[in-house]
Every structure is written in structure tokens, then in C-alpha cells.
């Protein structure tokens, strides 16, 4: 197969390296669309997408640019030209799911996105396979390596959020603008994609309750530590209740999920006949994420079966929550609250909130 890689950052470089070094001779990297401002330092590099689009020898596009624009335009035009698309771009997949799945159907090409969720964990593939045989009833996951790394630093080092963020950026595990990670948008995209694959429906992002860790303080963390609790930014999907929730959660410090550190991802999958399955793996990084992209290329080469899609729309709704919450308001007051309504959760005076999961 002849591929073109769009975007040559962390993921794109990982794909290139794996294809070249792991003896995958049947995958030929024909062209690379270089990033704006970067040098033409490889013979495969071009600076104009149309060169790739109009090259009929290229059958598959690997999109690792990130963002919606121009990624959506490029992959749409590629599918209309009968090119398969593999992407690691969760924002793209989550926000244009219907259009992209339809384009894939209409043009009879593959649209695969293993690397968009779970880093190096073969999550989408396994979720899709389980859904052929079983009813997925839900999942609970650490799907954001960046915040997991930040929280790990804050748990172990008693440092402020800004210090932990800076260290995480220095390690290459956080973007210069970390908003999408620390405010929970990244997790929201990944959860929408996973819920779509699990149910074969199309979840709306509208209404989804989403809370991040931007305003977490070392005093909050000291309180958790004193009470033998560990904080993780968690996403939950509960199919029976059509519930998607992105929220920091507090676990007993001896629980396994509390000890998934560094930039690892963790997901617990619940199914009717299978029971509980857990997958753990590297949540980011050039080679693990590149590996997931290459797995999609292998699937295309092997003419594998892809996730099933229906146009049935789902908008989440929430009942009142009966759980216990740790809430800190903008006046600095922190308290533990038992049970909250959706309106109470949306109180703009809440600076930081976490759910007890004990």
C-alpha cells in the first residue's frame, strides 16, 4: 500500500519510524505533507496537499495534523478521491463523526481511528470486536496521559498545579497550550468516539457535563492525601443511563486505578457476557501512538472489518447524582457534599469538583 502522512509531528514521525524500522515492506511512505514552517528535510516531503490528493498511486492518507481545520477538509477530499483515511485526531473524529462515517460508506473506503483514543492501547479494535458479540454496558477510563502525569507529580511532590504542568511540558507530555487536556475536552472527544463505537450510535457533545483540573490546588491535594485518597481525571460511560461524565474522581490510595501513574492510560470495560475487562498501556508518545496508526494500516491491508455505524443520535441526559463530592467554591470554601442536582453541579461558583469513587 502507498500512504501519505499529513503532519510530521510526534505521531507522524512515529508512524514513519515504525514502517521503516520494523520491516513492514508492504507499506510504502510515498509522500509526507510537511508542517508549515518546517524544513523539507526528507525526500518524501511536499508542501501542498493537492500534490497528494492528485497522486492516484496513493491509496491511504494518514492524518496526524490535529485540529479541525484543515484536517476535516483534507480527509473529506481524500475520501471523495477514493483514498482510505487513518487518523489519530480525536477532535476531528468526535466533532465530524457522522459526516466522516458517511463519506467512508459512500466512497467505499476505510476510515479508521484507533490512535484517536487510548494511545497505544488497542482500545477501539477491542471495543468494536466485543460489540459484535456482546452488549457493552459501560466503561470507566483514564484516557488523558497529560493530566495523569500532572496529577502524579502533584500527588508525589506536593507542588502547585503550575509547577507540575511545567514539568509535564518539559517532559514532552503536555502541549504548549494544555487547555484541551486540563479542561477535559480531550477526554470528552475520546469518550464520544468510544461511546459511538460501543453502541453503534452517534452521541452528541451537547449537554455533556465536563470538569477539569485547571483550578486544582496543592491544598486540595494535601486534603486528599491526608484522607488516603488519590485524584484522577476520569471519564465514565454508562449505557443504560446514556450517561457520559468527565470529572476528577477520588479513589482509595490502595485501589489499582489510583496507582496508574506516569502517562499511562487505563480502561475498564463492562459487558453483559464477558464481565469486566481491563486494558492498560502507554497513553501517548511517538512510538505507541504511531503503533496504533500502523495497526490501522495493517487492518486496511488485511481488509479487516470496521466498526459499525448507524445514524441514530443520542443526547445525554442526567438524573440527580447521589454520590459524594468534594467541592471548592470561588471564595475558597471547600466542603464534602452528599448528592447534587445537575443545576447544583453547573453552579458557576464551583472552581473545582471531584466525585468520591469508593
Amino acid at each position: 500500500m502507498n500512504i501519505a502522512i499529513l503532519g510530521f509531528g510526534t505521531v507522524g514521525k512515529g508512524v514513519y519510524e515504525i514502517v521503516k524500522n520494523n520491516g513492514l515492506d508492504y507499506i510504502n511512505v510515498s509522500k509526507i505533507l510537511k508542517r508549515k514552517g518546517s524544513k523539507m528535510d526528507l525526500p518524501e516531503m511536499v508542501d501542498d496537499f493537492d500534490i497528494i490528493l492528485n497522486d492516484d498511486s496513493i491509496d491511504t492518507i494518514v492524518e496526524c495534523m490535529g485540529g479541525s481545520d484543515p484536517a476535516f477538509d483534507y480527509v473529506s477530499r481524500a475520501m471523495k478521491k477514493r483514498k482510505n483515511v487513518v487518523t489519530s485526531n480525536k477532535l476531528l473524529v468526535a466533532t465530524h463523526y457522522d459526516e466522516l462515517m458517511n463519506l467512508s460508506d459512500e466512497n467505499d473506503v476505510y476510515f479508521l481511528f484507533e490512535a484517536s483514543v487510548g494511545g497505544g492501547i488497542p482500545w477501539i479494535e477491542n471495543l468494536s470486536r466485543v460489540s459484535f458479540v456482546d452488549d457493552v454496558t459501560g466503561f470507566k477510563a483514564i484516557f488523558n496521559g497529560t493530566t495523569n502525569y500532572i496529577l502524579d507529580k502533584m500527588t508525589n511532590g506536593y507542588v502547585d498545579f503550575d509547577v507540575a504542568l511545567k514539568e509535564t511540558q518539559d517532559k514532552g507530555f503536555a502541549e504548549a497550550d494544555p487547555s484541551s487536556d486540563i479542561d477535559g475536552d480531550d477526554l470528552l472527544y475520546k469518550t464520544i468516539i468510544s461511546a459511538n463505537v460501543a453502541t453503534r450510535k452517534s452521541f452528541s457533545m451537547e449537554n455533556v457535563l465536563k470538569f477539569g483540573i485547571r483550578y486544582l490546588t496543592k491544598e486540595d491535594m494535601a486534603y486528599f492525601k491526608k484522607n488516603h485518597l488519590v485524584l484522577k481525571l476520569i471519564t465514565t460511560f454508562d449505557r443504560d443511563n446514556n450517561l457520559i461524565l468527565v470529572m476528577p474522581e477520588l479513589f482509595d490510595d490502595k485501589a489499582y486505578i489510583a496507582n496508574v501513574g506516569s502517562n499511562f492510560n487505563y480502561v475498564e470495560l463492562y459487558c453483559k457476557t464477558e464481565g469486566r475487562l481491563v486494558f492498560i498501556g502507554p497513553g501517548a508518545g511517538s512510538l505507541p501512538t504511531g503503533h496504533s496508526v500502523v495497526q490501522d494500516l495493517v487492518r486496511i491491508d488485511q481488509k479487516a472489518v470496521v466498526p459499525i455505524y448507524t445514524t441514530e443520535k443520542v443526547v445525554v441526559e442526567y438524573k440527580d447524582f447521589k454520590e459524594k463530592f468534594y467541592v471548592r467554591y470561588d471564595d475558597g470554601e471547600a466542603k464534602v457534599v452528599e448528592g447534587m442536582t445537575v443545576a447544583e453541579l453547573k453552579n458557576p461558583k464551583i472552581k473545582f469538583i471531584a466525585k468520591f469513587d469508593l
Copy 2:
């Protein structure tokens, strides 16, 4: 697809239930070879394998009888009659790997065995997929739910081995004759199969060092507990050293692997570009194991690609071990030893041995 189920015990019943209850209309259970001595209580049941063999409408055999005889004869004859074979029988797959893979090649039929290792964990599929892209460098696993359950009981209850075994049998997690589980043979079969899939070679069972938990005492367990250690029966594969080792291991009681309880299975996979992946799931039981069999049926229906096989033979060899061991001899003396030669490990006076993994 038209299938026949051979053996209607725990796994066979699980397969039947999932196919009937989960809406898998494209899988038709045409015939069931009933177990000797059991009643003909379903219309699909027959008591003569030749009826199934000579029914040309049956394209796939699901073998859940266990044991080598007559399973090997039945599945060999089925493949020669151009029927696909799916099996949960680890003894069969491990001891007749070459012959069965060759029969599958020669007759152009599928031979799949997801359910033979890891219970409900989609282990073989994931291992096989990783091996298409990456170099598997090894794995470490709890692959025996029975002994995991027994050890869990002994850790938590300060009871003798016999008492814990009896409770495990009463729960349905151990066979009437538990030898294969408690002496490590079950783990050996599962490791050979996994190493074959990981490397695309064919490992010999000859020479493999294998230690079980038959002679473990509650005094041993009390010593471990006092030292904050937890015992698990572990299998290890190290590709660089062609090492397969089935042996009880001691972990810090806070390590995650130490806290995989009940009849769960756990496997850590190490790969060159992927890094470390962990899979956890139910290690036994009618529905989880049945689910893995049905996943193989779905793969056949989807014409999926199967594990790659070469005839290259591997016989394991051991260097001296540098690790620390807990050893109890037949005179009752127990001691901690640092470093052991292979000859020392084979000392027949050793009643129980465990490796420290700290």
C-alpha cells in the same frame, strides 16, 4: 455459518447460550455432540461424531471436550473434511501445534484457539496483531484462574491448601482432579501457545522448568504475609533468552499483580515500539470463555487473518538464575537462597519454591 459443538460442558454451554441469546443469527448451532453418559435433552444433540463429520452442511467445528483423546482425532478428521475448527482446548493446541497448524494450511480451513489461553481476555488476537507490527519481547502472566482463586483464599483466610482447594472446587473454579492446574501443566500449555503466536515459531515443552503449588502450606503463607509479600503462580516468557518459566512468585503486597484476585487473569505484554500493555479479565467461566470461542466464530465469518506459523522449532535453555528464591525442602527446612543453578532448581528434595519479584 453452520456449527457443531463437541462437548457440552462449561464452555460448550456458554457458546450455545451466547449464540442463542445475543442475537447472532448468522451462527446456527446445527448439532451438538453430547458428553458420554449425559442425556439427549436438546434436539441438536447426537452421540456419534461421524454424524457431524459426514454432514456437509456443517462448516465449523467448536471443540470444547478437553483432553487429547478423542479431541485430536476429531478435529484432525474435521479439517481433512474441510471444516474450520475453533477450540478452547489448551492441551490439544500446545501438544499438537505443528500438526494442527499444518492441517489447517493443507486443507485451507481456519484453526483458531482464542479461548485456549486467558479465558475471556482477547489475548491471542491482540498478541497476534501486535506481532504483525512490532517485536514481542516477552510477557508475564497469571493465566490460571484456579490457582489464583486458591491462593486468594489462602492469603485472606489463613487456611490449609486442601481447605482452599475444596472451597475453589465447590465454587466451580477447580476440576475434580486439579493436578493440571496446581502442578502448573495448564500454565505450561498456555505459555507454549502464547510463545508460538508471539514468535511465529514452535516451542518444545521439553526441558521447560515448571513448579506448582501442590505442597504450599499455611506456614509458608504466614511467612509471606509477615513480610508483606503475596504469592501468585506466574508464567514468564522472555524472548531474548528463549526463556519459559512456570513458577510461584512473591510480590510486594501493594503491587497491582499481587491484588489480581478471584479467578481473574492478568497479562503484561512487552514490545519493542509499543512498550508495556496490560490485559485483565475473567480467567474462566462459561460465558467469558464461551465469549472467546464466539469471537473466533465471528473472525471466521469475517474472514479474518489468523496467527502466522512457521515450523522453526525452539527448545528452551536456561542460564543460572541470579534471583532470590524461597525454598522449602522435604525435611521441612525453609530458607531464602540468592541465585540458583538449573541443577539446584531440579533438586528432588525441594517441596516448594517461589521466586522473589520485587
